[in-house]
Symmetry: C2
């Protein structure tokens, strides 16, 4: 059942039927009702492919996911972000198209997405220092919103980010207030922008209290359980081990905990742990009482909001770049306590 058939059945022209269904004013209300009823009765759904060609809009948003070299992005955080963004798209009748491509094809993928007209815009994931995707997308004229920011990029662009610096600064201050002095940082890869900012927050807080940073207490690696485990093992083996550790994610935090407990120490008493909690839907930080003290910010909500921002930009490309900084909340769980007396 297509438009022409429906029109014939109604004794109307395709023009009128199309207008009736799309809510244009130049159609008699009686006629419109008749058309609507017939459309429902015959289960008519306009063909998306035809609409797209006719309107010149893709009604779709792209997410490009590089693989192979750096698989950081295929992670649980990403999944939740996607789910959040997807909710927004569904509500607005947009499609979400995911492109999983080898690292080296990333540029070509963006260009193809634009020139073949598959999408109206894209979300940029996991921005790095001086991320090359931002100038690229600007150059080819594909609307985009960055989830995060790219330190080093000067020209303005659309982004939505969590205040990672401030979150880790507050977490560090919280530990300092509990009299911790030796505080370790188990960070993500520090070419990722969020990791850079978290480190800055951590360093700033220490410096403000006149505490020198110690390279031996600052690890940086992918946010896996194993790497959290190993980084912690190394720190605990120091002559002057930390009494508190900041971990970049729930998962690496679990590795930190395993190392602490494996060393015969007790979390929250011998060693305090604070994690960043993305509030993942399948990996809650406890239920009523949080397991970990954490800086929390829902990445799913971030996905929803970033998608909304992108749709707004697509609808009004001349509106100037939007920006939005979300604050993380500091929630107190069972993994922190006063520093043990030396």
């Amino acid at each position: 059942m297509n438009l022409k058939e429906l029109a014939t059945k109604l004794g109307l022209s395709p023009t009128t039927v199309s207008r009736a269904l799309n809510g244009y004013p130049e159609v008699n209300e009686t006629t419109r009702e008749r058309v609507m009823a017939a459309a429902k009765r015959h289960n008519y759904h306009p063909n998306t492919r035809a609409i797209r060609l006719a309107t010149g809009r893709a009604m779709a948003v792209g997410h490009v996911i590089p693989i192979a070299t750096r698989h950081e992005i295929v992670n649980p955080v990403f999944a939740d972000f996607i789910a959040g963004a997807g909710e927004t798209y569904s509500r607005n009748d947009y499609d979400m198209v995911l492109s999983v491509v080898p690292d080296e094809d990333e540029d070509a993928t963006y260009r193809a997405l634009k020139s073949k007209g598959n999408v109206d815009g894209v979300i940029v994931h996991a921005p790095r220092l001086n991320d090359p995707r931002i100038p690229l997308l600007r150059e080819i004229g594909l609307p985009f919103v960055v989830h995060g920011r790219a330190t080093g990029t000067l020209e303005p662009y659309c982004w939505l980010d969590v205040n990672n610096r401030r979150a880790f600064q507050r977490a560090t201050e919280f530990l300092l207030d509990l009299a911790h002095v030796r505080i370790g940082l188990v960070n993500g890869l520090e070419f990722m922008d969020f990791a850079i900012r978290r480190r800055t927050g951590y360093v700033d807080a220490l410096t403000a209290r006149g505490i020198a940073t110690d390279p031996a207490l600052m690890a940086s690696d992918e946010m896996t359980e194993v790497s959290g485990y190993r980084a912690t093992l190394a720190m605990l083996a120091l002559a002057n081990p930390p009494t508190a550790i900041l971990a970049s994610s729930m998962i690496s935090g679990m590795g930190v905990r395993r190392a602490v407990e494996g060393a015969g120490l007790t979390v929250g008493r011998d060693v305090s742990i604070i994690i960043h909690d993305d509030d993942l839907s399948y990996m809650k930080n406890g239920e009523d009482v949080p397991i970990f003290t954490a800086t929390r910010s829902s990445v799913r909500e971030a996905g929803r909001l970033a998608a909304e921002m992108l749709l707004a930009v697509i609808a009004n490309p001349e509106g100037g770049p939007q920006q939005r900084l979300l604050e993380a909340e500091l929630i107190i769980g069972q993994s922190t306590g006063p520093a043990p007396r030396g």
Copy 2:
């Protein structure tokens, strides 16, 4: 730059240019080369929207992800499957479209996907007992491949699954061989097909050795860290606690481990643990030496293969339903050992 412009520039008809680019035989090789060169030079990419309308194919595959009520699916395993499937799509110039919709809209989403022509086929995720999506998709005539199987569904359909029953049967036998008798099962939700099969494998292995199953040793819940933790706590509190536990995933296995260690017991000595390892790219079960003894099967590879199967079905819908059963390997890690002497 579109086809017509390119044709004009070449002094050819759109017909010939189209054919030259698409490799049709009825075009002079000299001409073809001229066209190819010009296309490259002018950076011509045919408009996807036009191709889709003209050919009547969507060149896209759908993945419908229900949310809200049951968020089991927004999980790390899903992310890796998607990544694998996405690789296949990219290689074949197909788009992957994800629809994140409220549970109650799932049916409507499939129908709309079909009647609006957004996709050529779909992958069905996380099948349940008597999954209603299978008859629905058959009814509306949308090609599909199920990742997993649906116990209770009689008519044949396309699926790709891991031999979950056999995997858990082997894992249980392995523990029995180590003289364990009290073996706990921390399973996923048992309306999910894979969980049903795993349980069957576990029960079969016990029964074959004449060991009665004990409901107190069989837990079923979402596969989160917390639920693995709690289920284990409960089992360890029994008068006759298990000396070994089978966990349905890496994540719940981490909860199991936390409970075991929290009880002052040693993994691999006091309590053995076997998990199912989906070989997630960001959550490796150790590096050289596996942390957990595990039944392993790469879900990412499953994604690749399921996508290939679906593309084959789309290309040849009359080919009859394909099926494929992957075997999991049993890999020995550091979390198992002989049963402690009672």
